[in-house]
Symmetry: C2
Subunit: 349 residues, 2 copies
Amino acid sequence: MPGSAGMAPSAPRTVADLGEHALLERLRGRVPPAPAWVALGIGDDAAVLEPVRNELVVATTDTLVEGVHFDPRLATFADLGHKALAVNLSDLAAMGATPRAALLSLALPDAVAVVDFDALVDGFLAAAAAAGVALVGGNLARSPGPLVVDVTALGSVRRRRVLGRSGGRPGDELYVSGTIGGATAALEWLSATAAGDPAGEPPPATIARYRRPQARVRLGVVVGRTRSAGACMDLSDGLADAVRQMAAASGTGARVEAGAVPIDPGARAWFERHGRGPLEAALAGGEDYELLFAVPPRRRRSFLAATRLARPIEVTRIGALTREPAVVLADSRGESPLPEGFAHFRGGR
Amino acid sequence: MPGSAGMAPSAPRTVADLGEHALLERLRGRVPPAPAWVALGIGDDAAVLEPVRNELVVATTDTLVEGVHFDPRLATFADLGHKALAVNLSDLAAMGATPRAALLSLALPDAVAVVDFDALVDGFLAAAAAAGVALVGGNLARSPGPLVVDVTALGSVRRRRVLGRSGGRPGDELYVSGTIGGATAALEWLSATAAGDPAGEPPPATIARYRRPQARVRLGVVVGRTRSAGACMDLSDGLADAVRQMAAASGTGARVEAGAVPIDPGARAWFERHGRGPLEAALAGGEDYELLFAVPPRRRRSFLAATRLARPIEVTRIGALTREPAVVLADSRGESPLPEGFAHFRGGR
């Protein structure tokens, strides 16, 4: 009986149908009980947390904007929830901090379906549970434009274990964790597929680098604990950008050995199939969320011993910080300027 | 010589012209030196802060979205920067916390002029300096839609001085700080003026309630210190909403005396001139950023003595929490349900 309220297939319920208070209640109902160090969590004007004795508070915020940092056709809402937390945990990892708590701030277009809202929250909460992070607060707002997911993550670290990005010295060896290029290759494949022109799928592990990045939390913590790295930062804007920024912050130059850069195998195959230089593509690509370390040679053994505690993630030596101010890529033909990195704000997506 | 690059009046430079790195540098250049308890501030992957000994960490986040929470025609970018921090400081005040640090996350449309970016940042930093708050980090992103300003504020409070919203008991007296309705009247006047139909301007003090809200930081701290209030929350979504939420969180009802509610004089005149009931308009209007307290009668003297330390802000007794679960407005004609509050997400702006 078309037109009958009880029988007609109904449009999916949207967040605008529910309203802010009901959405907040829905969110609260999905959050597991808070740990004892959360004196007040979601539901009050602010969260109240007990700091870790003798440790410093580490705070970071990072945003994912629809149409800039993500495209709902290329990833699920659960992926988005996962990633919004992961990119913040990566920043904490780069400081050597142990993550503890997060605040989730959403600006939601009226048309977002309630099931998608739920999936986003559940993806976020699953990533939080895996990292031992408590969701302690946040905010819900309407957006007349894109979906915006803004997360603040709070962590904890002892003062002498903080990994800054400015502590590198000439002669320090540069190490990168894992492999690079995977997120870029995955994004290119997902974009091509959405446009109806896939041409060769990278392996699932490569796709996951874009959809479900894994912050190197344990690696950052174990390296911080041994104080074996002089500097550390994450690769949110790509390896080339990270090397440039670490060198600038440390007042050094840098030399990256072209043959040493660990490229994701699926990404390498993807780039080669499309007639692109895998190294250039991987260096410039963002969103790998690996860590870059500067390690004084006398601390190398201690550093490598620490990283073994974070297996199966490996680290690879890719070059060194230099006294000469230039930031260069070295191969058998000589040295050339390291390519510019990826920029979310200009030129990027 | 029109068309000559050197002579033609040039369009204002936009944030897209500058790009993310240059904008970040520009922002960093405006931030004053960090206090000693900031181990690492803006410029690293995350901020590192020393907590206050024997105090808990208080964290809150709140967002202003263009077209939902603000209209660039009705306030300056400096107002917006001020307000983005103030609404977060209000949440800290409602916990009795002393504000310390903030993270500023901006999603910027490409067309935002660099001078407007500067004004937003300077408005934020002026409000931060006035409150003793250090800007320690943040994020810049592009927005393909509205300007989004997301702020996280961190504060500090002793465990026994935390002001939650759920600690009210039947018989507690309800007090509200300052006056209400001013922000709503100001917004109405600013909107009418932008539409070319002003019809009577409220006094500047009323306009400021919308453009430059002042968080009741000192009031929250002094009341928290004396532990004289059982519950507290701020009025971001209006007095009616706050009373409802405090009663719900405390498991009580509430009774508000219509004649006792302190309405901003400029707002009262504005509402009357437009044939509206000032009380109903003021109760339902959001964004006043005053504080609502529930005070056990035996703590009244201590509470009022504490509030005198926060002068010139006054508090007014407006009713009580009740054993009966209803939330009512009482006047000479009897009791009626307290009107529903303002909702940013549905029906509001």
